[in-house]
């Protein structure tokens, strides 16, 4: 009964459930898309003139510079929503029902993850659209766009599994909304909004080695043709590692609860 085909079928069923839920409860999605859009506009129009000059360009150069950071921030914001949704789900009887059924247990979590990743990719697409409208001019080829999509999907998977684990760990939905908060700050404490070499030593050290920086550097390189170096490999490793650990953590927490 536990053949991979049935597990896949259960996961597809749970994903459909999750997508329907997201459609029925759109206010969360809207809020999660709008928050990074507002930050993008704030940074470009309020701070962009000065900050753009600081990196040796103008407002347009700054739009180009912060797009990768904003994309990651959008995913991190969405992770908050996922953690809340998972925590809420766990308090409801429906999950107890799933546990008493002969289904693939992980499918309950997989449904959340796939639904959330779809939600995040849509949110990022909206962001890129708005960035293009306000002067973002990437020079990426089709292959590079594909690579960006791939890396952002990996990243979305990583933060989502982490969010699922955090949501499962949280005693209440309120607590779950706080747990992923540090993720939203990581683009700031990296190369998301200003180059790391403008930071004081300790912060710079953290900024250069934290996982978001190589991911942002890779996305930036693919979109704008800046140097990537070994960032791509490090970024992929971070995403794979966070995904694997979070998956195991989430699965164990779910099985034990």
């Amino acid at each position: 009964m536990n053949s991979p085909a049935l597990a896949l079928r259960d996961s597809a069923t749970m994903t459909r459930r999750q997508l329907k839920r997201l459609l029925r409860y759109p206010s969360m999605t809207v809020q999660l898309v709008i928050t990074p859009v507002i930050i993008l506009l704030l940074f470009v129009y309020v701070l962009g003139g000065t900050l753009g000059a600081g990196i040796g360009g103008g407002r347009d150069a700054y739009v180009a510079y912060i797009v990768p950071g904003i994309l990651l921030m959008a995913a991190a914001t969405a992770a908050t929503g996922t953690a809340v949704m998972v925590a809420t789900d766990m308090t409801e009887g429906i999950v107890a029902r799933f546990r008493t059924m002969r289904i693939s247990r992980a499918s309950v979590l997989t449904g959340h993850v796939v639904g959330a990743v779809v939600q995040q990719l849509l949110g990022m697409a909206v962001l890129i659209g708005i960035a293009l409208a306000i002067g973002f001019r990437p020079n990426a080829t089709a292959a590079e766009w594909l690579a960006v999509t791939g890396l952002l999907t990996l990243f979305a998977l990583a933060v989502t599994w982490l969010a699922v684990a955090l949501g499962l760990r949280s005693p209440t939905p309120e607590a779950a909304s706080n747990a992923p908060m540090p993720l939203i700050l990581l683009p700031f404490l990296g190369s998301g909004f200003v180059p790391t070499d403008s930071m004081p030593t300790v912060l710079r050290w953290f900024a250069e080695y934290q996982p978001f920086t190589p991911i942002m550097e890779t996305v930036r390189g693919l979109l704008l043709g800046t140097a990537i170096g070994d960032s791509a490999a490090i970024a992929t490793a971070w995403c794979a590692g966070i995904t694997a650990l979070s998956y195991l953590w989430a699965k164990r927490t779910f099985d034990k609860a």
């Binding site: 009964m1 536990n2 049935l6 079928r9 259960d10 069923t13 459909r16 459930r17 329907k20 839920r21 029925r24 409860y25 409801e92 009887g93 429906i94 107890a96 029902r97 799933f98 546990r99 008493t100 059924m101 002969r102 289904i103």
Partner: protein, 314 residues
Amino acid sequence: MTTPAIAANGLRKSYPGKGGDKVVLDGIDLTVPEGTVFSLLGPNGAGKTTAVQILSTLIPADGGTVRVAGHDLARSPDDVRGAIGVTGQYSAVDKLLTGEENLLLMADLHHLSRRDGRRRAAELLDRFDLADAARKPASAYSGGMQRRLDLAMTLVGDPRLIFLDEPTTGLDPRSRRSMWQIVRELVAGGVTIFLTTQYLEEADELADRIALLDRGRLIAEGTADELKRRIPGGHIRLTFAGAHLLDAARRVLDEGVADPDALTLRVPSDGGVRAVRELLVLLDERGIDVAEMSVHTPDLDDVFLTLTGREATR
């Protein structure tokens, strides 16, 4: 001999708490034959829900052996899951989905084909009087409707053994009666029901056998009538047409409490058929006419009070 739907021996569960472990189930033995309604009756905190959670594979037991639907609970929980359906105390419906979508979700998870799933959903919506609300989100349903949808979802997989954990708690009397009717129909179809309730009346109405759970122990088990007969306090109340008949009856019976104003006599009795027959035959032989007779067996509230020395607090 057929395998019982549930056979539990020495079932134990405790939770760690302040000042030592709190024992929730303290060595429980249960046997539920197939096709019967078994009711676990007890006040809040007696351990009823814990028992259901263990028997339905939600939480592991600390000790004891349990076979559910012929499968060992600890070794093959997935086989147990394939045979049971659970409707818990808290509504287990997805409130963001419509009633129909909830049922189709269950159909998909039971790996029914699309067509069979749709047919089954439509059938259950009809049967549970939810067809008009099928396209509304479950969050818009009343308490009674949610409970019906909940049970309908449990039935999608055609389980042979259904756990109903306090299925009518919080329902109005009408919804409660309609839930009882549904349970009776299920039993008529050969399904085994394991019902927990804190309503003595409910166990009395539905159950073939009742076990009284108090502080993690079974303090009595039997049919409703057997339990009631274990309790003193039952009596037969006789009403006569005149004072001379009342006096005559008192002399003949040599026991009982007379009420000359109401012309009634209360005779202590277990209320069983034999006792009633003997009493009436005796009076008939002496030519004493009885105008009215009623039997007062103690209800399950009395049973609980007698066995525990406490009120069955709700």
